[in-house]
Symmetry: C2
Subunit: 176 residues, 2 copies
């Protein structure tokens, strides 16, 4: 379940990675999450991909499987959290970073707080259901017993485009 | 997975069940959810139980399994929704009612909106993390694409007591 992310990690030459290296690593991980989103699309699923990383090692990865699994809760990042807990044999993922192509909804943002996730990195914002900045700010709610550090907008254009294309195609096919 | 809830259903003599019969059915289902909460407690899990019903038939049932499954997302009602989707071969649970002993958190309230759950019935309120009336009102947010009808406070005393006792015992054992 856990494998080193060698190519991405190699881009950081020293022990103390600079801010630039961190940003580069974030982009590399988001690129991988985008590949997962493409796998979702190939199954006719809304294309969202997610992965969980700890110390630059991949812990788990998943993509949206709501239709395929008949599971209303099978969002990419919710599945990735479940798999990460299983891989690390704990529900406590405080040393983990979650990468996901779309701003998490209330369910997924709530799941990250429950899992005590250290950091969340997402791509496109979701004005209709996003719960990290758009409709709610659940990941940073001071009333809850954990706050998640949030970085947004990483490869936002690519992450948004794959969704826009998917919904355009779906509308097109429904018409014909 | 689906079985008739005969005894509870029998309490409604006609086709058009009265409000009293509905309330009685809700109490019968909450009693069953409380039994599930006791099963969680016997495993050392925070005692919360949940079930999904459609047309007075049991579709799925679950209890909190966060510690046992090493799954941060293994709340009772989230698991019950996953099982219900599998049982009915659809993520769309609009004809279903969810019974849960504790007010759902952001993750679980969000999951109910995603599943298009028709109605939610819960027992005790959760002032620290509840997302249906305490901290948020996610189940009835007009900005989201679905609203869940909510009934709260069914057997609230019993549902709350089992939790209070659990945490008191845990504190006691941690001291000694």
């Amino acid at each position: 379940m856990s494998e080193p992310l060698d190519r991405a990690a190699d881009s950081s030459p020293g022990d103390c990675a600079s801010e630039h290296d961190h940003a580069e690593f974030d982009r590399a991980m988001m690129g991988r999450a985008l590949e997962l989103a493409r796998q979702a699309r190939s199954l006719g699923e809304v294309p969202v991909g997610a992965l969980v990383v700890r110390g630059r090692r991949l812990v788990s990865q998943a993509f949206n499987l709501r239709e395929t699994n008949h599971d209303p809760t099978a969002h990419a990042e919710r599945l990735a959290l479940e798999l990460a807990g299983r891989a690390l044999a704990t529900w406590r993922l405080d040393e983990c970073v979650v990468y996901v192509t779309l701003e998490p909804c209330a369910m997924c943002a709530g799941a990250m707080v429950l899992a005590r996730v250290g950091r969340l990195v997402y791509g496109a914002t979701d004005p209709k259901a996003g719960a990290c900045e758009s409709l709610y700010r659940i990941a940073r709610d001071p009333r809850l017993n954990h706050r998640v550090e949030v970085t947004s907008g990483v490869m936002a254009k690519e992450c948004g485009e794959i969704l826009t294309e998917f919904f355009q195609e779906r509308r097109h096919f429904r018409k014909i």
